[in-house]
């Protein structure tokens, strides 16, 4: 059992070793996708008319946790929304 566990650990370590850069890249791509999605949701703030604004409003509660990181990445030091005071 002990040998099996250490073998499993070894394989896990090996996998992690090789997939590190790949995982980072995928995380970056996914973050970019998320950023684009959030950008579309908040597009009104950037002066881009959004016909679905009324519906995207409903998504805000689900986005609050990500919101702070997102506005920092978008180059806004403080929360641009009055309703959302994250910082």
């Amino acid at each position: 059992m002990k040998i099996k566990n250490s073998f499993k650990k070894l394989i896990q370590g090996y996998d992690e070793m090789l997939s590190l850069s790949h995982r980072t890249e995928i995380a970056r791509e996914l973050r970019d996708e998320d950023d684009l999605f959030l950008f579309l949701c908040f597009s009104e703030m950037f002066g881009i008319p959004n016909p679905a604004f009324y519906y995207t409003l409903e998504l805000y509660p689900y986005m609050l946790e990500k919101f702070h990181d997102w506005h920092l990445r978008m180059g806004m030091e403080n929360s641009p929304l009055d309703g959302v005071r994250c910082c």
Partner: protein, 580 residues
Amino acid sequence: MSGIWIAVFGILMFTVGYRYYSKFVAERIYRLDPNYETPAHKFQDGVDFVPTNKFVLWGHHFTSVAGAAPIVGPAIAVYWGWLPALIWVTFGTVFAAGVHDFGALVLSVRNKGQSVGTIASKLIGKRAKTLFLFIILILVLMVNAVFAWVISRLFISYPASVLPVFLEIPLAVWIGYKVYKKKGSMLLPSIIALAVMYITAVIASNVPALQIDLVSYFGGEESQTLFGLNGLSMAFFIWIIVLMVYAYISSTLPVWKLLQPRDYINSHQLVVGLAILYLGLLFLNPTVTAPMTNGKAEVSWFPLLFITIACGAISGFHGLVSSGTSSKQLNKETDARFVGYFGAVGEGTLALIAIIAVVTFFASPGDFTATYSSFQNASAGGLGAFIGGAGQLATGLFIPEGIASTIVAVIVVSFAATTLDTSVRLMRYIIAELGSEYKVSALTRTHVATSIAVISSAALVLLPEGPKGFGSGGYLLWPLFGTSNQLLAGITLLLISIWLKNQNRNYLVTLVPMIFLLFMTLWAMIQQVVFDWSGLGETEGNMLLFIFGSLILGFTLWILLEAISALSTKNKFSDIDYKA
């Protein structure tokens, strides 16, 4: 003498170097602090800055720096005999590459995880950035052109390797898609992919119908085909066009779709290859047939040896990886010794086995001398000798030699192809960056920049008649590769030395290899530019090499002047974090 003794000597050197020298450097010179908050913690974002286990990070670092270069360089350099190559690989790794990779990592960690390019532009201003861009541009142009030829040559010499290499592309796309969309583990699919490739290689080496042998399709080497090209040239022409089209597509796709999963599969190949070669060496116990030194060499080993073996001894590209990605993921500062120094040792072991594979391949010293009769022949036949030698070592593990050679060719082509598409991508970025620097907005567009990169590389490969016949135009510039790469390493060592000096520490550990490296680079460049290429010496001139060579020589002198001025003033580095 048995080849095992060479391996024993090399590994002993690496062990002693890592155990004692790197410890001394870590404690006394770089003064690593386990309590220092690394950028991975300070700027943790779950993407670029992620604290990572040191073994995992070492694996990432090692597989990122090891590619075809530590194989190609030593395979050519044994032309001067195995002893000089062995000494440079071992001493170079211990005293130059180790402190260089390790130092670049520490320097970057102490500077918010910034890359050496950014740190250099802080130090010597905007000029340094442009200098960096131009050096890298020349480097990647050469890499594109030469690797296109190398891959074509391997496809022509080992037609059984074509199918598995092309099979890797859809397999990589499949893995990329699977992991991206479904977030599954990559290990099992990529091992399956590897198995599929190797099984295909085994089948293809036994079934001629599966070997894509363009030369025989065109009726043999000497037959006449279209545009006045013979069969061999036509095969080169088609392979190079195919590779360029491939490079265009792969470098414009998002990296996770093809490049990354391919790298991942290739990393397994690196581990598998190293294990097979070292175990094969142990079981086969082959005799070294190559001479210890070559007294009759028409090209002097001094200073060319130090330029020919770059990766595997010291290479500027390693600094880019150290400061580019590894530094952003370092968990504790004290891990830098293991990741940076031991990463260089990992690459040294690859160069070591490359030397052993070549020097034990030939049946007799006469056979060796026949293949390595001149430096030009060594450059042409070195890689082939490595593949043959590695195939022979694999027979120690009861793998038939023909199959082993095909598998080694698959490994080398995969490494070379990854280098090719990475360097086309890199060239695209540099063209875009130069475009934004000089306000030519057209150049910043992906397809415009990629087209320029691919077309200029293809033109360099196909238009001029290279030293190895049609399609080898890249070799016209290749003599510059070693020097420009070493120059990059010299700049990094210079940055580390200045950083150490400004903190009143002993900076000789980086200054000595820097002076050695820049001296060799300068010597080699002056010899080649002034005596070989300008037409003033005994040999016929070469305008192309003369112009590019003079350019790089100018850069080297410039860097030297900057080095002297930066080392004698103190305040230039003021905006960099010195606090220990």
